[in-house]
């Protein structure tokens, strides 16, 4: 550790980032102290962000005793590894169950946000294609959840943390895509409400209306009508 670098956990953060929220939820669930440092993303990015994440220049970045960990799912795994005594454990002990959790978190990562962005940014046929993909994705997730309380069963875990912040964006996806998660996927909607009863989730998730407002800001930023 370089002299003068901060001890403890710092999260380079952005108020509406669902990826940063994954990390905040994990830290909150485990009762781990950290400092959140809000970043400028739509203007000139700060020095600390650029130095800590030179490859992607994105949030979240977790700084632990000055050393940077980037990519939200990598950060979640780091939190598990670096704080082995902190509970609850977000990944199960069994290797097969761990692999399943990693598969589904990775699936969420490869689908929801990217498809959702196309849904609000694009028009006409491209939006219709994004809508179809979003419904297919949510259908797949709903089927995987099944009648379980959480993705891994009885306990709130890795996949739940990966997906729950994105549920704040569902309202915007519904508005742009003309569908209803509650109507089409009631189990998924119920799961979201169940997660929302947790202190960490209730405190950290952005209100859906605020996400919609933010998308309005992004549209202006990207010159989308």
């Amino acid at each position: 550790m370089v002299a003068g670098e901060k001890k403890g956990v710092v999260l380079l953060d952005f108020w509406v980032s669902p990826f940063a929220q994954r990390c905040r939820i994990a830290l909150a669930e485990k009762g781990l102290a950290y400092e959140s440092v809000e970043q400028v993303l739509l203007g000139d990015k700060g020095d600390l962000l650029l130095r800590s994440n030179p490859v992607h220049k994105k949030v979240p970045v977790l700084l632990h005793d000055g050393r940077a960990v980037c990519e939200s799912l990598v950060i979640l795994e780091y939190i598990e590894d670096a704080f082995p005594l902190a509970t609850p454990r977000l990944l199960p002990a069994d290797p097969f169950a761990r692999a399943q959790a990693r598969f589904w978190a990775d699936y969420v990562d490869k689908t929801v946000y990217g498809i959702g962005t196309r849904l609000w940014r694009l028009k006409g046929e491209q939006r219709a294609a994004a809508r179809a993909e979003m419904l297919e994705t949510l259908r797949t997730l709903d089927a995987e959840l099944g009648d379980r309380a959480f993705f891994a069963g009885e306990a709130f875990g890795f996949v739940d943390v990966a997906l729950i912040p994105l549920t704040s964006w569902f309202y915007s996806y519904e508005k742009h895509g003309g569908f209803s998660v509650q109507a089409e996927f009631p189990r998924l909607a119920e799961w979201a409400r169940r997660c929302g009863e947790r202190d960490s989730v209730a405190k950290i998730l952005t209100k859906p209306e605020e996400v919609l407002d933010f998308i309005g800001v992004l549209k202006k930023h990207y010159g989308v009508e």
Partner: protein, 222 residues
Amino acid sequence: MAEKGVKVFGMWASPMVIRVEWALRLKGVVYEYVDEDLANKSDALLRHNPVTKKVPVLVHDGEPIAESAIIVEYIDEVWKDGYPIMPSDPYERAQARFWAKYADEKCNAAIYPVFTATGEAQTKVVHEAQQCLKTLEKALEGKKFFGGDDFGYLDVVVGWYAYWLPIIEEVSGAKVVTDEELPVLKAWFDRILAVDVVKETLPPRDKLLALNKARREQLLSA
């Protein structure tokens, strides 16, 4: 009763599949290899991986696991007393996972266009691929392997470049990994190709070259 043993559903020319074979062989695990015709996927594959329908799939005592990088971690955890694939230090593990993601998401996306680009467009995509690989190369940091002194997780994930990139270069006429642009990576290529589990599993070069030539022609004429 669930079938016992380890099965790999793969395709002989797939670099993602070979990662799984390297991991199993590092651990000394005996496995059955099932070669798939990706144009005509088997019922078994579709049953084991209904979500993405892709190879590789590892089936262990009847239970399927998909996504090559995830399978490699699974193998490391199950056969935990064997050869250590993942680093043990949490920060090193995070670095390994970060670079694996970077390679699979950014580098592969930068390399793919090199395969089909021609003329001036090729120069541009070669440059972009080189920029991506230069960034990845930093993680080697003067070590023998990404894993340090020994072949490790990140080597398993990106080691395929050592064999497949020269083939892509030969097929497309592009020069990507050169002594001038990527000397550190190029030197690492030689070390990768000397690793036992790598040598044991690489598909025949002439066969792989022919397949890629044909695929390129197909893509260019489409």
